[in-house]
C-alpha cells in the first residue's frame, strides 16, 4: 500500500519534471550563437532565403511560442527532424537505443559479478591487506577519466597488442536488425561468428564502463555487509551459537544485498551517462555518440530529443528502484 502511494506520488511529478527539463534545455540550446536557419539554408544562401527558412521552421517567433509549439508536436509523437542527419529525431534515437542498452547491460552484469563478491570479501576480512588493497583500487577506479582509460586501453590492446578491435560494434554490416542488440540478433540467427565478433568489439568499451561501476558496487556492498554484521540480529544469532557460515549466508548477505540491488539500479543510470564519452572514443553508434555529435553541431532538435529520452530513462529507473526496494524490503511494506 505504501509502495502504491509512493508510486502514484512519483508518477504525478514525472510530467512536470520532464517539462521543466525540456524547458531548461530548450532555452539553453536556442541561445545558440550559430543560427540554425543559415546552416540549413546553406553557406551561399541569400539573406532572403535564410529569412524564409527561419519563418518556415518557426524560428522567427518569440522563444516561448517556439517552446509551446515544440511541446505540442512532442505530444503528437513528433520530435522534429535532425538538422545533421536530416532524418526524424525519433527514428535516429530509436535506431541507436539498442547499441547503448547492450553496452550498459553488459557493463552492469560485469560490474555486479565482480563488485558484489569483492565487496562481501572486503567486509568479511575488514582491515586485512585485501580490504586495504581493494579500498585503494576502488578509489583509483573512480578517479580515472573514462575517456583517458578508453584511450589507454585502445593504445595497449588494439594498437600495440592487436588483440581487440579499435572501435565500432562489428566488422562489416552486422546481423539483420531484429532487436538491434547484435548479440541477441546473432543468437536468434544462430550465427556464432557474428556473436563472437560482436562480443569481441564489446570488450574494451565494457571494461571502460564497468570499472568505475564495479568500484561503486564494491564500496556499497562492503558498507552494507558491515552494517548488517554489526546489527543486533547477528549478535543474537552469534550468541545463540549458530555457525558463522550460516549467519553470513542466511542473515548478513540477504539483508546487505537489498541495498546493493537499489544501488545497481542507480548505477545503470550512471552508466548511461558514462556511455556519452565512452561511445565517443570507441565510435560506438549509440545514443551517447549521437548526443555528443548533435550537441557539437548545434543540432537542437536532436539535443532536445536525447534530453527527453535520457530524462525519461533516469526517472523510470529511479521509480523502478523504489518499487523494487519496496518489494524486497519488508520494512517498506509495513
Amino acid at each position: 500500500m505504501r509502495t502504491l502511494v509512493l508510486v502514484v506520488n512519483r508518477l504525478v511529478w514525472v510530467a512536470p519534471t520532464l517539462l521543466g527539463l525540456l524547458a531548461i534545455v530548450f532555452f539553453i540550446s536556442h541561445v545558440i550563437p550559430a543560427d540554425p536557419a543559415s546552416f540549413i539554408a546553406g553557406e551561399n544562401a541569400s539573406p532572403a532565403t535564410v529569412a524564409e527558412v527561419r519563418a518556415r521552421l518557426g524560428l522567427d517567433q518569440p522563444l516561448h511560442i517556439q517552446f509551446v509549439r515544440y511541446i505540442q508536436s512532442i505530444l503528437q509523437g513528433d520530435l522534429g527532424r535532425s538538422i545533421f542527419t536530416r532524418r526524424p529525431v525519433a527514428e535516429d534515437l530509436l535506431s541507436r537505443f539498442p547499441a547503448t542498452m547492450e553496452l550498459a547491460i553488459a557493463a552492469v552484469l560485469v560490474a555486479s559479478t565482480m563488485g558484489i563478491p569483492l565487496g562481501v570479501v572486503s567486509a568479511l576480512y575488514r582491515n586485512s591487506w585485501l580490504d586495504h588493497a581493494l579500498r585503494i583500487v576502488t578509489i583509483a577506479g573512480l578517479a580515472m577519466a573514462s575517456f583517458w582509460l578508453a584511450i589507454i586501453l585502445q593504445l595497449t590492446f588494439s594498437m600495440r597488442l592487436g588483440i581487440t578491435p579499435l572501435h565500432g560494434r562489428i566488422e562489416g554490416w552486422g546481423p539483420e536488425q531484429i532487436t538491434g542488440f547484435y548479440t541477441v540478433d546473432a543468437l536468434i540467427m544462430g550465427d556464432p561468428e557474428v556473436l563472437l565478433d560482436a562480443l569481441h568489439h564489446m570488450i574494451l568499451p565494457v571494461v571502460t564502463l564497468s570499472l568505475p561501476a564495479a568500484a561503486t558496487i564494491v564500496r556499497f556492498t562492503r558498507a552494507g555487509v558491515l552494517n548488517a554484521l554489526s546489527s543486533n540480529y547477528v549478535l543474537y544469532s552469534t550468541a545463540m551459537g549458530y555457525p558463522r557460515r550460516l549467519i553470513i549466508w542466511k542473515y548478513v548477505l540477504r539483508n546487505a544485498l537489498i541495498g546493493t540491488v537499489t544501488q545497481i539500479g542507480l548505477i545503470f543510470g550512471i552508466l548511461l551517462a558514462g556511455a556519452v564519452v565512452v561511445e565517443a572514443v570507441f565510435d560506438w553508434p549509440g545514443l551517447g555518440l549521437f548526443a555528443v555529435n548533435s550537441i557539437l553541431s548545434s543540432d537542437y532538435n536532436a539535443v532536445m530529443g536525447f534530453t527527453l529520452v535520457a530524462g525519461t530513462m533516469f526517472i523510470v529507473i529511479n521509480l523502478l528502484v523504489d518499487i523494487l526496494q519496496g518489494m524486497i524490503d519488508p520494512r517498506e511494506r509495513a
Partner: protein, 282 residues
C-alpha cells in the same frame, strides 16, 4: 577540530590524498620555477616535435615540439581554478537553497526542490556539454556550465540534513529564545550539518575535475594554446600509438589529482560522518 585532525592524521590513505592536493597547489603556484621550458605554453619548436621522454624533455614533447612536463605544470593552474571557482559557486547556490527549502514548509520549498530534481534528471555531463557548447569554449564558460549543473547536489544534501535536524531540541530552543529564522538557519543549523557539506565538497572536487577534463577533451574547454589536460589528451589521439607519452601523462595528472580529493574525502567521511558511509557512496 583538533580531534578530527588527529584522527585524520592516522589515516594513511587520507594523508596521501592530502599530500597529492598540496602537491597540486604547489605545482600550480610554482609552475614558472618548476618547469624546464616555461615558455612552451605558447612557444613551439617544430624541429623537435613528438620527441620521446628524455633528458631535455622529461615527459617528451607534443605535436608542436613543446615540453609536455612544463605544459602539465601550467595546466594545473587551469584545473585548480576551474574546480575551486565552480565548486564555490555551486556551494553558494546550493547550500542557501537547501537551507531555506528544508527549514520552511510550503510551495516555495517544493518548487525549489523540484527545480533541483529537474537538474538531476539528466546526466550532469550532458547538461554541462550542452551549456558549454552554447556559451562557447572558454575557462569562464566551463566554470559556469559546471556550477549550473552541480549546485543541486548541495541543495539536496542540505535540504535532507536541515529537515532531519529542524525538530531537534536545540533548534526549538533557539526559536523559543526568539532567534530570527535567518539566525537559526545560519548559526544553529548550518554548523551542525557542515561536516556533511565538507565531505560532499571534497568528493565533489574530484568529480568536477573529471567533468571539466571531459569538456576539455570534447573541445569545449579553454581554447589553445591553453595547456588544459583534457584537450591535450584529445590532441594526442592523432599520434597514437607512436607518441604514447603525449596521451599518457596528462591522464596520469588528472588521475593523481582526482585520487587525492577522493582519498581525502573518503578519510574525512570516516572521521566526520560515519552515517554517510552507510548511506550513499558517492
Amino acid at each position: 577540530m583538533r580531534r578530527v585532525m588527529r584522527k585524520l592524521a592516522q589515516d594513511r590513505a587520507a594523508m596521501l590524498g592530502f599530500a597529492l592536493i598540496v602537491l597540486l597547489v604547489l605545482v600550480a603556484i610554482l609552475a614558472p620555477f618548476l618547469s624546464t621550458h616555461p615558455g612552451d605554453v605558447s612557444d613551439f619548436h617544430t624541429h623537435r616535435r613528438l620527441t620521446p621522454p628524455g633528458e631535455a624533455n622529461w615527459l617528451g614533447t607534443d605535436r608542436m615540439g613543446a615540453d609536455i612536463y612544463s605544459r602539465l605544470l601550467f595546466g594545473a593552474r587551469i584545473t585548480i581554478t576551474i574546480a575551486v571557482v565552480a565548486i564555490t559557486v555551486a556551494v553558494l547556490i546550493g547550500v542557501p537553497i537547501g537551507l531555506v527549502a528544508g527549514y520552511y514548509d510550503g510551495i516555495v520549498s517544493d518548487l525549489l526542490m523540484r527545480l533541483s530534481d529537474i537538474f538531476l534528471a539528466v546526466p550532469q555531463i550532458v547538461l554541462a556539454i550542452a551549456i558549454a557548447q552554447t556559451l562557447g569554449p572558454s575557462i569562464e564558460n566551463v566554470i559556469l556550465a559546471l556550477s549550473a549543473t552541480y549546485w543541486p547536489f548541495w541543495a539536496r544534501l542540505v535540504f535532507a540534513e536541515t529537515r532531519s535536524c529542524r525538530n531537534e531540541p536545540f533548534v526549538e530552543a533557539a526559536i523559543a529564545l526568539g532567534c530570527s529564522a535567518r539566525r537559526v538557519m545560519v548559526l544553529h543549523i548550518l554548523p551542525n550539518i557542515s561536516s556533511s557539506i565538507i565531505v560532499r565538497t571534497t568528493i565533489g572536487m574530484g568529480g568536477t575535475i573529471l567533468t571539466a577534463a571531459t569538456l576539455g577533451f570534447l573541445g569545449l574547454g579553454p581554447p589553445p594554446p591553453a595547456p588544459e589536460w583534457g584537450r591535450t589528451i584529445a590532441e594526442a589521439r592523432e599520434f597514437l600509438p607512436m607518441a604514447w607519452w603525449y596521451a599518457a601523462f596528462p591522464g596520469l595528472a588528472i588521475f593523481m589529482v582526482v585520487m587525492g580529493f577522493n582519498l581525502l574525502g573518503d578519510g574525512l567521511r570516516d572521521v566526520l560522518d560515519p552515517r554517510l558511509r552507510r548511506a550513499h557512496d558517492r
